[in-house]
Symmetry: C2
Subunit: 342 residues, 2 copies
C-alpha cells in the first residue's frame, strides 16, 4: 500500500553491525555506549538518512514529540502579534526537537479532549485565554501539561504567561511625562474589547492612571506624576476616531500627551491631531501600544510599547518543555513590555 518502505532502525543497526536497541540508546543517550560504537551508529544514521518513525516512537515511548498550539485564528486578536507568536513558538519548539500541531480555538474543549486522548501531542499551548474560558476547565480535567497565554478567572494550578499590561500602561505614561507632558490621556479600544477580556485592556488603563497626580506634588521621591491623566475608550472606525479625538482635545485644552492602545485607530488619530493643528513630536506627544509596524507606518514615526510576542512564545514553549520533563515552572509569569523610541 505504501511505496518505498523507508529506512528503519533495523537498517541502521545492520549497517553499523549492532543491535537495534544499541542504535536507540545511541540516539537517546539513555545508556552509555562506547565512543567507537556510537560513531559507527551515527555514521550509519547519516549515510542512510535515518529519521525515527514518529508513530512508532510515540507508541513505544509515550512521547509524541509534538505539542499543540491553539490559536484564535478566526478574529479578534491582533494579527501581527499572533503571527510573531506562532512563528516564535514553532521556532522554539523545534529547538527542543518538538513539532507543533496547529488548532483553532473553535475546536474548543472537545478538540483538546481529542488530541489528549489520542496521544497525538504531549502538551498544549493555549493562546488568548479569556477570563471565563471553557477550554481552561478542559485543560484541568485532562491533566495534559499546558501553558496558557492570558489569565483565566481561576488560574490556580495552571501555568500562565502574559504581557505585564499594567507595566505597559505605566511605561506609556512615564514616557509622556518624561517628554514634559503634564496632562496626558489614554485612547483605548472600543467598549466591546473591555467587556470581552477583563484584564488586558483594563490593566493598561490602570497602569496608565497610576501616574495620575491629581494635584499631588510632581517632584520628590518616587516616579514623577502627571498633573492630570484620563482614559477614554474609542471605537475602531475612522469617523468615530476623529470624533473621539476632537472631543478629547476640546474637553482638555492642556492635553499634550496621548497614548493610543488601539492599533487600527492610529492613522486616524494622527490625522485628527494634524487637523487640530497639533504638531506631533514637538508640541504634542503620542505613544502607541502595539506592534512596531504600527508606529513605523505613520508620519512621523511614533514610539511604541510592543507586545514582545516572540519572547512570550519562547517563554511559553520553554515552560511547557520544562513541564514535560517533570520540572517545576512558575505558575504565573509576567513579561515586561518594551518601549521603542523612534
Amino acid at each position: 500500500m505504501k511505496g518505498p518502505r523507508g529506512v528503519t532502525i533495523a537498517d541502521v543497526a545492520a549497517r553499523a553491525e549492532v543491535a537495534a536497541s544499541t542504535v536507540s540508546y545511541v540516539l537517546s543517550g539513555k545508556r552509555s555506549i562506547s565512543p567507537a560504537t556510537a560513531q559507527r551508529v551515527m555514521d550509519a544514521v547519516a549515510e542512510l538518512g535515518y529519521h525515527p518513525h514518529a508513530g512508532a516512537r510515540s507508541l513505544a515511548s509515550r512521547r509524541a514529540g509534538v505539542i499543540a498550539m491553539m490559536l484564535p485564528l478566526r478574529d479578534g486578536m491582533h494579527l501581527p502579534v499572533l503571527m510573531q507568536f506562532a512563528s516564535g513558538a514553532v521556532t522554539e519548539a523545534r529547538r527542543h526537537d518538538q513539532d507543533v500541531l496547529l488548532m483553532t480555538a473553535d475546536e474548543g474543549p472537545a478538540g483538546l479532549a481529542r488530541v489528549a486522548a489520542s496521544s497525538i501531542v504531549d502538551g498544549l499551548i493555549l493562546m488568548d485565554v479569556e477570563v471565563r474560558d471553557p477550554r481552561v476547565e478542559a485543560v484541568r480535567r485532562l491533566g495534559l501539561p499546558s501553558v496558557l497565554l492570558g489569565f483565566p478567572a481561576d488560574a490556580a494550578g495552571l501555568t500562565c504567561v502574559d504581557l505585564d499590561f499594567t507595566a505597559a500602561g505605566r511605561e506609556c505614561a512615564d514616557y509622556l511625562i518624561g517628554r514634559g507632558c503634564r496632562d496626558i490621556a489614554l485612547l483605548g479600544a472600543s467598549e466591546a474589547v473591555y467587556e470581552r477580556r477583563t484584564g488586558f485592556a483594563e490593566r493598561v488603563r490602570s497602569g496608565f492612571l497610576d501616574r495620575r497626580g491629581d494635584g499631588r506634588a510632581a517632584a520628590g521621591p518616587g516616579p514623577r506624576l502627571a498633573e492630570s491623566a484620563a482614559a477614554v475608550p474609542c471605537p475602531d472606525d475612522p469617523v468615530s476616531v476623529q470624533r473621539t479625538v476632537k472631543e478629547l482635545l476640546a474637553s482638555r485644552p492642556d492635553l499634550t500627551g496621548l497614548a493610543v492602545h488601539n492599533e487600527p485607530a492610529v492613522p486616524h488619530v494622527m490625522h485628527a491631531l494634524a487637523d487640530a493643528g497639533k504638531c506631533v513630536g514637538e508640541d504634542f506627544h503620542v505613544v502607541v501600544i502595539g506592534p512596531d509596524e504600527v508606529g513605523e507606518r505613520v508620519h512621523p514615526p511614533l514610539p511604541s510599547v510592543l507586545v514582545p510576542a516572540e519572547r512570550l512564545a519562547e517563554i511559553a514553549v520553554g515552560h511547557l518543555m520544562r513541564k514535560l520533563d517533570g520540572l517545576e515552572v512558575p505558575e504565573s509569569t509576567l513579561v515586561e513590555p518594551q518601549l521603542t523610541v523612534r
Copy 2:
C-alpha cells in the same frame, strides 16, 4: 512514567464483547459489520470516550492523519491573508479528520525531508512558493503528496493553486472603467516585491494593462477599454507614497481611476488624494487589491479585490486529500478573485 493508561481499543472490545479487530472494522468501515454489533461498539466507544492512539494507528496503517503546512511565518506575505489561509486550512483539514502540523519556511528542504522520513505527516501544503524555490526540488525528490500555493518555474508534475492575479488586475481595470474612468493607473508594490516573485505582482500589472486602449475604439465588441492606463511601482513608506501619488497626478492630469496593489500604502494614498483636492467616490475612483479590512478601514470605504484566502485553503487541502486517496487532481488551479463593492 505516564499517568492514567488511557482507554485502548481492547477496552472498547471488552466492553462491547467483541474482538479488537471488530472494533477497528466498525470504526473504519472497511468490512461489513452487523448493525447490532456496530451499535454496541459505538456505544462502548462513546461511553469510554475512546479515541484511537494516533501513533499506533500511524504505525499500523501507514497513515498519520496529519498534514504539514509550511508557512513563511517570518516576513513578507500579507498577514491577514496568511491567517485566513491558515485558519481555512485547519478547518478544512479537520473536516477530513486530519490535523495540521505547522512548519516555518525557514526549516527549508531539510525540514521537509525530516517530516517525510519520520512519517509524521501524510502530505504537505507549501505556501508562498516562489519561482526558484529550493523546497520544490525537495518535494519532488521526496515524493510526498503535496500541494503548492504559487507557481514555481517548473511546475510539471506538481499540483499548484493560486489566485488568478491576471484576472484580478483586469477586474480592477474593468471596475474603474465601469465607473466612467478613461485614464487609469495601477499603483503597485515596491520594486523589491516585483523582483522576488515573478508572477504575482507582474500578473496583476499585465492584467490591468490588458485593458489599455491606447486610442483604440472604446466601444464595439469585447470589453470596454480605457483610453490610457499606466502602472507604477511604489515603496511602502508614507513619504514615498505621498510623493509617488503626487508625481502620478502631476504627470497624468486626466487620471480619474486608481488601483492600489500595496496594502500599507492605502491610507497614505487617500491622504495624498485628499491633499490634491480629489474627492474619492465622486470625481475620482479607487479600488484596492488586498483583504477586505484594508478597504474598510479608510474613509471613504473602498471597493477591494481580495485574495480569497479561505477558498484557496479549502481548495489546496481538498486537492491534497484527494491525492492522499489516490485520486486525480488538476495540476494547476487558478482561483477567481472577488471584487467587493462598498
